[in-house]
């Protein structure tokens, strides 16, 4: 200890007579603090790298779209799926890196008793963390969508064109909201299992990646091969394969894949394909990773709710226990 420890300079103690905030405002302060830490704000430069890079890459398709539209092309990227694979990969990275930042650090250093001995109630803590992380995910997902919209609308000259873009954007924003809520809840629930950042990050990344890959494999192997004959009309004068008729269209046997019940259900394995199933069920039109949901759309809706309930329930249950002083 330094020489001056133990020495109190007599500056006198001043009572605090100012305003005191109520519980709701304290929860809001914790929400803001957590939201900032989700982006590494208030921390060193290193803490900002992942959020910044993820956000920048997520915006790239929207920027490319703005350039393309300015050059007279139609909109490149759909609002409801955005660039699906890119979004999956970036959200896995963001959630795996930042969810532990919100909850694991406090668990690791046993700070929780210092929260719970204050006017907060026990469930206020996970509530503020969850709200903050949903907001953070929302920002990563929706801001690029808004950029996509602005870039497109900037070149739209009729009210009708603007209105049709707006009408297409709104479902996209709602899909983004579903993503943010589900991914934030799963991420925080998994992160709250371990005070060690590396374990928490690993658990989240492994869960998301494995289920995503598994869903992809299941969807691929459960599709049925369908053989059919198509007729190709070669340009005049082109060489014709042997055995083909001398004139007219040439019959070609092709094999396509058709979804089966199993492949309709395969998407339930992963949160990302579950989200996409809900999108299709609710009338999404863009092509996603799922070959369709068949008649099982409601099942995807139920799966979404189950995943959400389990994660939120798990997160809150964690703090009912961990809050012991």
């Amino acid at each position: 200890m330094s020489a001056e420890t133990g020495v109190i300079h007599d500056i006198g103690y001043r009572r605090y007579t100012g305003r005191r905030l109520g519980r709701a405002q304290i929860v809001r302060a914790l929400y803001r603090h957590s939201l900032r830490s989700a982006f590494g704000l208030g921390r060193g430069a290193k803490a900002k790298i992942v959020p910044l890079i993820v956000f920048a890459i997520m915006c790239l398709p929207a920027i490319a779209n703005a350039v393309a539209v300015a050059n007279g092309n139609a909109r490149l990227v759909p609002y409801d799926t955005y660039v699906f694979q890119l979004r999956v990969v970036l959200m896995i990275i963001f959630v795996a890196a930042q969810a532990p930042e919100l909850v694991s650090r406090d668990l690791r250093s046993h700070v929780l008793p210092l929260y719970f001995c204050r006017p907060l109630r026990r469930m206020d803590y996970p509530l503020a963390k969850l709200a903050a992380f949903i907001t953070a995910c929302l920002a990563i997902i929706e801001i690029p969508l808004l950029l996509l919209y602005v870039g497109t609308v900037a070149q739209s000259h009729t009210p009708h064109a603007i209105w049709s873009q707006t009408r297409a954007l709104i479902p996209g924003l709602l899909v983004g909201l579903m993503w943010a809520v589900l991914l934030a809840a799963i991420g925080l629930a998994l992160a709250s299992l371990s005070g060690r950042r590396a374990y928490a990050t690993g658990a989240i990344a492994i869960y998301f990646f494995l289920t995503w890959i598994l869903a992809g494999i299941l969807i691929a192997v459960t599709q049925r091969n369908v053989a059919r004959t198509a007729f190709v009309k070669p340009p005049p004068g082109a060489p014709r394969p042997p055995g083909a008729p001398a004139t007219g269209p040439i019959p070609v046997h092709i094999i396509t894949q058709a979804p089966t019940t199993a492949s309709h259900l395969s998407g339930l394995v992963s949160p990302f394909t579950t989200l996409d199933g809900v999108r299709l069920w609710l009338g999404g039109t863009s092509k996603g990773p799922l070959p369709g949901v068949g008649g099982y759309g409601a099942l995807y809706g139920a799966m979404f709710l189950v995943l959400l309930a389990v994660s939120v329930g798990g997160l809150f249950a964690r703090y009912r226990k961990a809050g012991a002083l």
Binding site: T5, G6, I8, Y16, R20, Q25, I26, S109, R118, P119
Partner: protein, 349 residues
């Protein structure tokens, strides 16, 4: 459980400073699943000032603190802090109370200023006030320029100070300190105790210090509450508990048997206490006798220390029969730097 509680007519509410008791419990009971009661019909009143809450590990100190903060529901009985019901007004109580946990609770990669400011916000201070009070609290506990360094670089003593500062930041009316000297070396313990005594005396904040080290606590406390197995052992003012009865502790590196015999021969009544000897200190002549005996035997004297009777001696035997102690005057254990361990004493580490 939420029935209004009026102060018991017979409760010893008087204490230094104005206002009623800071803590009142009546028949407070907490049973966890299993045969053990953490608290067993504990009725105690704590007056303003510095109060030591003493008990062995597992005596129920932590359980009591949790109930007082409104974080744990008692199985039975009532508890009030600063006149508020612990079960009904927990939030209010937590707004008025600063708590310093026993265990490590600091993130290593944040500066003390940032950390205490954030916890000031969590105590309900607006942003600017939180910043100001964090700086002030850290200064009060003796952290100056260091407060801009990451907590991970701090010594144990500095960390304890940060823990105390975060309890102070919200300008509490009551501080609950759980083992504030744990892990500190003797010098660190002394300065921490001095700091606590100053906060109690000069800041006008009532303090409850939970500790299993009686010898430490008695130095800074006005009152003492001793609990054992969830029951009240004794609650009183320090002065009424420690009648002056002087004892001289003699510590020689070798030859304590020879010295024991020699002191007896010279008319004293030495008693063995661990590796040391204790003799009753009647007057200054005792010093001379001891000095001469050691000099004549040419023994290497390590320590010669005058001690008051320790509070813990009161707990070494049935507190209902304190006379049993006064006769010998040396039955106890203690010393801040050499904690003994009489089995019955609430002094087990």
């Amino acid at each position: 459980m939420s029935a209004p509680l009026t102060a018991q007519p017979g409760a010893p509410a008087a204490g230094p400073g104005a206002g009623g008791p800071v803590i009142e419990t009546r028949a407070l009971t907490k049973r966890y699943p299993g045969p053990v009661s953490a608290l067993d019909a504990l009725t105690v009143t704590v007056a303003p000032g510095i109060t030591g809450l003493v008990g062995a590990n597992g005596a129920g100190k932590s359980t009591l603190i949790k109930i007082l903060l409104g974080l744990l529901e008692p199985t039975g009985g009532e508890a009030r802090v600063l006149g508020r019901d612990c079960q009904r007004d927990g939030e209010q109580i937590r707004g008025l109370t600063g708590y310093m946990p026993e265990h490590d609770c600091l993130p290593p990669d944040v500066t003390a200023t940032e950390f205490v400011t954030h916890l000031g916000r969590m105590s309900g201070l607006p942003p600017t006030a939180a910043k100001e009070r964090a700086a002030e609290s850290l200064r009060h506990v003796g952290l100056y320029e260091e407060r801009y360094r990451q907590i991970g670089t701090y010594s144990t003593g500095m960390k304890q100070r940060v823990k105390l500062a975060q309890a102070l930041v919200g300008d509490p009316r009551l501080l609950l300190l759980d083992e504030p000297t744990v892990g500190l070396d003797p010098a660190g313990r002394n300065s921490m105790l001095e700091l606590i005594a100053r906060i109690g005396a000069e800041f006008g904040i009532s303090i409850v210090v939970a500790s299993h080290l009686l010898g430490e606590i008695e130095r800074i406390c006005d009152h003492l509450v001793a609990i054992e197995a969830g029951r009240l052992l004794r609650a009183d003012t320090i002065t009424s508990m420690t009648q002056v009865s002087q004892v001289l502790l003699i510590d020689v590196d070798e030859g304590s048997e020879v010295l024991l015999a020699e002191l007896s021969r010279r008319g004293l009544e030495p008693r063995r206490h661990e590796r040391s000897l204790l003799v009753g200190l009647d007057d200054d002549a005792t010093y001379d006798v001891v000095r001469d005996a050691i000099a004549d035997l040419a023994l290497p004297l390590n320590r010669l220390e005058q001690r008051r009777r320790r509070v813990e001696e009161l707990f070494a035997d049935d507190p209902a029969a304190p006379e049993a102690l006064t006769g010998a005057g040396v039955g106890g254990t203690g010393g801040t730097d050499g904690p003994g361990s009489t089995p019955e004493a609430p002094h087990v580490r």
